[in-house]
């Protein structure tokens, strides 16, 4: 992970005002032209990680470091952070129906973002909006820009959302489960679009719980469990040979496409710990099949192989 790291989270820790830690220790890196898939169960802290990068979590205490383009975001003044939001980094949300303001046309909302960050006339902004919508594959973009969110289909809405996110040419695009609310064919189209964005040189951070989506779209993957990154590495390597027992269990739980159908799909016994009841040591230990005495001390994220990092005692040299 060289100097061209676009986003570098280092021991990011996030807690509620009452001291309950939501994120324990999140360290991950997104480089230009990379797509990092952040996977984990519901409540593992994927979305919180994304929101804290965007600085959308007022009232929560964050510590550690969020490095973005050689700048430190934590402790930055809100005014400066605001200038980055939408322009330097942009976010796509899960449900484009509720994410758009229902009472204004989508064109007006995209124009607004452009005009928030650049001094352009209404007419110019609209021309750019229409061009963007066209590039996102929205048919008849000029008419589509005048429509309201409820008048568009789910897929078109999400395309409009992506167009809005890309309107100021962000270096980092954060997509928080962008396809969860969409049907499968539309999902494939949106993922292709994300791949194109990545190929054009932006960094993409894709939050999902779907390993299939990660395999299809991402170059790297980070597995989050209970507020901690437990494994990070290139998608192909992690998929072929997962290191952390949690990742192994996750991948085993995906039904195979061919071959004999298993009698029962393997599942992980137990449930993830609540933020206020995390074990002292390795957070996955209570559900882990390899658990041993030294799991009582929380393992650090190590790099047993070039480019791969894992937090597990099994790989302590």
């Amino acid at each position: 992970m060289g100097a061209d790291a676009l986003l570098k989270l280092h021991h990011l820790h996030l807690e509620l005002p009452d001291g309950t830690a939501l994120l324990e220790d999140v360290s991950l890196t997104v480089r230009r032209g990379d797509a990092l898939g952040v996977v984990g169960e519901s409540g593992s802290g994927k979305s919180l990680t994304a929101m804290s990068v965007m600085g959308l979590l007022p009232g929560l205490k964050a510590s550690g470091s969020i490095g973005f383009e050689a700048r430190e975001l934590l402790g930055m003044k809100d005014r400066e952070w605001r200038r980055l939001r939408g322009a330097g980094m942009a976010m796509i949300f899960q449900d484009p129906m509720t994410a758009f303001l229902p009472v204004r046309s989508i064109g007006a909302q995209i124009d607004e973002q452009i005009r928030l960050h650049e001094r352009v006339s209404r007419r110019e902004a609209r021309a750019r909006t229409v061009a963007l919508l066209g590039r996102m594959g929205v048919p008849d973009p000029e008419a589509a820009a005048k429509r309201y969110p409820h008048q568009l289909s789910g897929g078109l809405r999400q395309r409009a959302m992506i167009a809005m996110a890309l309107s100021c040419g962000p270096a980092l695009l954060i997509a928080d489960e962008p396809t969860t609310a969409l049907d499968v064919t539309v999902q494939a189209q949106i993922l292709t679009l994300l791949c194109e964005i990545r190929d054009s040189g932006a960094g993409v951070m894709l939050i999902t719980h779907d390993m299939g989506v990660v395999a299809q779209t991402c170059t790297h993957v980070a597995v989050v469990y209970s507020g901690l990154v437990v494994e990070q590495g290139p998608v192909a390597a992690v998929m072929a040979r997962p290191l952390h027992p949690y990742t192994q269990a996750l991948l085993e739980a995906i039904p195979p496409l061919d071959g004999p159908r298993p009698d029962a799909l393997p599942s992980i016994p137990g449930r993830p710990p609540a933020p206020d009841a995390r074990p002292e040591g390795c957070v996955f230990a209570p559900r882990c099949r390899f658990v041993r005495p030294d799991c009582a001390v929380r393992p650090a994220l190590r790099e047993p192989e070039e480019g791969r990092r894992v937090a597990c005692v099994l790989y302590d040299a």
């Binding site: 959308l56 939408g86 322009a87 449900d95 994410a99 229902p102 009472v103 973002q113 928030l116 409820h150």
Partner: protein
């Protein structure tokens, strides 16, 4: 568009018709409300009563009476008062209307600007002492009877401290037409309309605060912040956009009912010759034609305001135009 407009107009006419029948029945067809005896006065001879009954048409069947009444009210507009014989009722109401309109416009200006400031301030500073103070003030304003407040204002500004520099400008009670003196018009209306607005400021600020706080939890507000919009823009542009629908519908109804004579107490206390005071006088003397006229006038305003609010709704929220409520 034209069809929906036509059906809307049809609905409005139907509602107005219903109200007119109801009001007519209450005042003319209720047993014991024989208007003849009232007009004839106490101790009139049976011959006089009979003559009056024939003259005013009270010996005809009720539907005929109703049609005659409506004709006199809306078509020939020569309905005359039972109390001040010969005084035409419709011009009287129309003369009072501008007074009420001025009073209510001023009050609306005060209560909209006041409640916007209070509501937004307490929503932004929620749970702080400012928020609590404003909401308590709002509750006080809301629960203060307007006639009492009006009397207190009169007591202070007209007699007790009238000669101090604070209230020297306050004109005597009553109304000054705008055409006669714009300054006199404004000063005469300032205190009455402020008094009228006080309870509305309290109510509207509370409504706006809760609506605004609900709206700020929406996903679209998070999107607005993710776009890089600053707090002022997020609150005033995105937040208000989402939360002012119920505010506007409330405003439309209150404004209409005030125009229709709902400012009765304020008008009586401040001696404003408006529609409310006219209604008050008509009720005090049981002047049936005048009651009929003022109530119909109020009904027309409320119905029209309802239609306007619905139209405004469709403009502000495109989902409503297509009959898709909710999201």
């Amino acid at each position: 568009m034209i069809r929906s407009l036509a059906s809307r107009t049809g609905q409005m006419l139907l509602v107005i018709f219903g109200i007119s029948v109801l009001v007519f029945c209450i005042f003319f067809a209720t047993p014991g409300a024989d208007p003849t005896a009232r007009i004839a006065g106490r101790g009139a001879s049976p011959q006089v009563v009979e003559r009056i009954r024939a003259e005013y048409g009270f010996d005809r069947p009720l539907p005929v009476q109703y049609v005659k009444m409506m004709e006199k009210l809306f078509v020939t507009r020569d309905l005359t008062s039972f109390v001040n014989h010969g005084q035409r009722v419709v011009p009287e109401v129309l003369q009072a209307a501008p007074v009420t309109l001025s009073l209510v416009l001023w009050a609306a200006f005060f209560w909209v600007s006041g409640s916007l400031v209070f509501g937004i301030a307490s929503a932004v500073l929620r749970d702080s002492w400012v928020d609590r103070l404003l909401m308590v003030l709002g509750l006080i304003g809301l629960s203060m009877p307007v006639f009492w407040l009006g009397e207190v204002v009169n007591l202070v500004t007209q007699s007790r401290w009238h000669d101090t520099f604070l209230f020297r400008w306050v004109p005597p009670l009553g109304y000054v037409p705008f055409s006669q003196s714009p300054w006199g018009w404004a000063t005469a209306l300032f205190l009455p309309s402020l008094t009228l607005a006080v309870c509305f400021i309290g109510l509207y600020a509370r409504v706006l605060r809760s609506e605004l706080l609900t709206a700020m939890g929406e996903d679209s507000i998070r999107t607005a912040r993710a776009k890089g919009a600053g707090p002022v823009r997020v609150w005033l542009w995105h937040g208000l956009r989402l939360s002012w629908l119920s505010y506007i519908s409330l405003f439309g109804l209150d404004f209409a009912q005030l125009l229709g004579g709902g400012a009765l107490l304020t008008e009586v206390v401040f001696a404003m010759p408006g529609v409310g005071r006219l209604t008050y006088q008509a009720l005090a003397t049981l002047d049936l034609p005048l009651i009929m006229a003022t109530v119909m006038y109020a009904a027309v305003f409320v119905v029209i305001a309802n239609a306007l609010v619905d139209g405004l709704y469709a403009l502000l929220d495109p989902r409503i135009m297509e009959g898709r409520h909710g999201r």
